[in-house]
């Protein structure tokens, strides 16, 4: 919003506070009459339409895990309207405040808070109005499906405010992003009163996806739109020496856009842009040997200088405990590769720069930050950028979508027309920010009795935020970096999340510098459950190694040390559902070429506790692992929509299984070689589990925590532990692909 418009609204605001300005009138005058889109206005969160439908304005978005339905359930519950009356408008910078976009599985735990408060406050105001209008005291009024009644008389929400604005201030906590919240006078309902929250409700985006009748971001068409392809360099940190435009002269009407080391082609027809991008000859000045040998990646990490070291958990005197006499030392080191988001389609964005303003349609899960990034790149006020999220081809963190949005905006500015950018496959696999490769070291000191006296876990790897979690700064985009803006990494990794009560305990992490500072296909960023699978592959494999060393059953061993009751509860629940027989691992010897085994893993994530049991078959001839059955016990506090939660857990299991068994970004000294699905294989149907069973532990008394990611982190170790149980062979390097498993078995 421009300053002048804001000023204008402020000037008329005094006239309308306390009254309701008709929405129709407001629409007729643009947005005049509607208070500015700021968190401190109730109208920024909720609206009642003339026909009684309700709109909730959500600054996050759903990507197919039914978050929007959960938000609608919460709003319907607080407002006492039918669920089908609530529409959730998501991720549009012109209709919602910046709640941080999709982030950290916080959609419900954080994202729903202001919506819940706003809905409760709206209900309170409407009851107040109804009381005045009907001259009946509020205590004698009740609400059902948007109709307030008392003493045989009724008035509906739509009669009271339909099509008009509340013009009611609420107290914003001055936070932007995930922590944004508002304080209101109304008191939200207690969970014991819930009728809609807690019930399984159908998704709203299934039918259009199944019948092919809706639009993805790839389907946005703007009049006069041109098609572009950005040409990423063949190696990391390449400089452009020159571009031979005559190399594409056989394709008429293609324009080459070059700014420093950023090169793109723009054409009226998409096929012309695709062909031109393939044929354009560019003289690159390449940096030689920017990467270590892929086989030496983890040696590089071990030897690399530590840029930041943080001891997150420190209890007792670990150093002394390791020196205590008579201790048995158990130690192990685990390795995790770079992994790609490899979203289903390469990212796409459409931008239209016109008259000093920009509209951008993006699949990025952080549309408000896209607004800020585009504004910074184009040097215009953020209020002049309108960023609209439209569901994209998959989104699991900071993938290539953030780059596409800024690419499109830049290109539209240069060519003066709307521009649609879509990547080719390699842009989604080779050039997305990667999940960081790392080395994870664990050691423990056991007393003769098997009791763990000391435990130490140190993660060392590339930062999880070489590229920031969002694209608010051009420094975190490829177009920005290619034009000379230097990356500004945040040094951060993480430690396992659990409650094992070892007397002496140290959990620490060490971050190392990126291999290449700018424009690197091995730049690292957030990938679904950032560093969760990495850390817990190691820590939960190691817990099993300790159980074996202590001669104890893996479930019993975990229960012996877990200090949090909810943590123990998911372990117990998963063991019971899986029919877990208590014994030590590995299983007694088996005959035949296919061995079977079971494994458990447990972890916590921001308040959510999850445990998984995997049952696997290991084919000793081929090394193929089939995780045939999964059982997951999940406790994320109050459950809003059990069916949505179950499907979200299932997706986590399968995506996590794919990362466990198959995924590894391949590269040589100069280039990333994982450029497509052949060179970056993911799990296919043959390897999908036969069944995934879930135990949902509902705790209405506990505020909801997240579910979008936690299950991901228990999958790798559950599988690795099951392979050990089946074969007696411990594999400490991911992915556990057939070649690695076969080699490990043949060494045993």
């Amino acid at each position: 919003m421009s300053v002048s418009r804001r000023e204008f609204l402020k000037s008329i605001g005094a006239l309308v506070v306390g009254g309701f300005v008709p929405l129709e009138e407001a629409l007729g005058q643009g947005v005049a009459g509607k208070p500015p889109l700021v968190p401190g206005e109730l109208d920024s969160w909720i609206a009642v339409l003339p026909d009684g439908r309700v709109q909730a304005f959500f600054g996050k978005m759903d990507m197919g895990q039914s978050l929007d339905v959960a938000i609608a359930q919460i709003v319907a519950e607080e407002l006492d309207v039918g669920l089908d009356k609530v529409e959730v408008l998501m991720g549009d910078s012109a209709t919602s405040c910046n709640q941080g976009g999709a982030s950290g599985s916080l959609g419900i735990s954080h994202g729903a808070r202001p919506l819940r408060n706003a809905a409760a406050e709206a209900r309170r105001l409407l009851l107040e109005q109804a009381s005045k209008r009907l001259a009946i005291s509020q205590s004698e009024l009740s609400v059902a499906d948007g109709v307030i009644s008392g003493q045989g008389r009724t008035v509906s929400y739509s009669e009271l405010i339909g099509g008009r604005h509340f013009h009611h201030k609420v107290e914003w906590n001055k936070q932007t992003g995930n922590l944004m919240d508002i304080k209101v006078e109304a008191k939200p309902k207690p969970p014991s009163a819930y009728k809609v929250v807690g019930k399984s409700m159908q998704r709203r985006d299934v039918a259009w996806k199944v019948y092919g009748t809706g639009d993805y971001v790839t389907d946005v068409r703007v009049a006069g739109m041109l098609h572009a392809r950005v040409i990423r360099p063949p190696r990391a940190a390449c400089k452009v020496r020159g571009v031979d435009e005559s190399s594409i002269k056989s394709i008429p009407g293609v324009r080459v856009v070059r700014e420093r080391d950023f090169v793109a082609v723009v054409a009226r027809r998409e096929w012309d842009a695709v062909r031109a991008a393939q044929r354009l000859k560019i003289d690159w000045h390449a940096l030689d040997d920017a990467f270590p040998d892929m086989s030496a990646l983890h040696d590089h990490i071990r030897a690399a200088k530590v840029v930041k070291h943080v001891e997150e958990v420190k209890r007792g005197d670990v150093a002394a405990a390791f020196k205590a006499p008579g201790m048995r030392l158990v130690e192990a080191e685990y390795e995790w590769p770079f992994q790609s988001h490899a979203s289903m389609g390469p990212a796409c964005a459409i931008a239209e720069v016109k008259a000093g303003a920009c509209t951008v349609w993006t699949g990025s899960q952080k549309p408000h930050f896209v607004r800020d990034g585009v504004a910074a790149l184009l040097e215009m006020p953020p209020g002049n950028v309108h960023s609209i999220w439209i569901t994209g081809p998959g989104s699991y963190g900071r993938n290539d979508a953030g780059d596409a949005a800024l690419d499109a905006a830049y290109l539209s500015k240069v060519v003066g027309k709307p521009v649609r950018v879509q990547g080719m496959r390699a842009d989604g696999t080779a050039w997305d920010p990667k999940g960081p490769a790392c080395v994870l070291r664990a050691r423990a000191a056991l007393e003769a009795s098997g009791k763990v006296l000391a435990y130490e876990f140190v993660a060392k790897g590339f930062s999880r935020q070489h590229i920031a979690t969002n694209e608010a700064s051009p420094a975190d985009s490829l177009v920005g970096q290619a034009m000379g803006v230097a990356a500004k990494p945040t040094w951060i990794f993480g430690v396992p999340a659990e409650s094992y009560g070892f007397d002496n305990k140290l959990l620490a992490w060490e971050a190392i510098a990126p291999l290449v500072d700018n424009c690197s296909p091995l730049r690292t960023g957030h990938l679904r459950d950032p560093v969760g699978p990495e850390l817990h592959f190691a820590s939960e494999s190691f817990i099993d190694e300790l159980a074996t060393a202590a001669g104890e059953d893996p479930v019993a061993f975990r229960l012996r040390y877990l200090t949090n009751e909810r943590h123990a509860a998911v372990v117990n629940a998963v063991a019971e559902k899986a029919g877990w027989q208590r014994r030590t691992s590995p299983r007694p010897s088996q005959a035949g070429p296919v061995f079977t085994g079971r494994g458990i893993a447990f972890a916590e994530r921001n308040g959510t506790a999850v445990a998984a049991v995997a049952e696997v078959q290991v084919d000793r001839r081929s090394g193929r692992v089939w995780a045939r059955r999964f059982v997951v016990a999940h406790d994320c506090g109050l459950i809003i929509n059990p069916q949505g939660l179950r499907y979200t857990i299932e997706g986590n299991v399968v995506q996590g299984l794919s990362r466990t068994l198959f995924e590894e970004v391949r590269f040589d000294r100069n280039s990333v070689h994982s450029v497509d699905w052949a060179s970056y294989p993911i799990l296919e149907m043959q390897d999908a589990p036969e069944s995934i069973e879930t135990v949902l532990i509902d705790r209405p008394e506990v505020a909801p925590s997240g579910a979008g990611e936690p299950t991901m982190r228990v999958v790798p170790a559950a599988v690795a532990n099951a392979i050990f149980d089946a074969t007696g062979v411990r594999i400490r390097k991911a992915p556990l692909d057939p070649a690695r498993v076969k080699a490990a078995l043949s060494r045993a």
């Binding site: 197919g64 199944v210 998409e270 289903m344 081809p393 998959g394 699905w677 149907m685």
Partner: protein, 154 residues
Amino acid sequence: MATFRMTVDGKRVSVDAEPEMPLLYALRNNLGLNNPHFGCGLAQCGACTVHLDGEPVRSCVMPVSAASGKSITTIRGLGTPDKPHPLQAAYVAEQVPQCGYCINGWVMTAAAHLKKNPRASDAELREALSGLKCRCGTHVSIRRAIKRAQETMS
């Protein structure tokens, strides 16, 4: 440039394009259809799958000239909310897709396979669906939906 005539979702259409241009670009850009999707351009994922005279093909690698004179069905032509294909009805009942960008591959491939082999076993289906990708990991839901569709089709 040449003109190619074909039938798409029951309508006769013509496309002016280079013979080697993939059918996908003709469907999306010349004809303005928003399905199928570009996933890889390499026939490695299935997001662009359509039926060509009833057989599933990857439109991202099939030259438009090879579709000349043929009948093409996209997921939109397979069924509608009023007259759904049993697989589409089952997909809705089982709430299968998450991001849903892969859906053409799974539905169009399975629909063609079930036409030939309506009682396909789990092993046969796993084989028939090999080569398809779903990044959100909805594979277990997909198998549930196919099983449900098989029940309604038999």
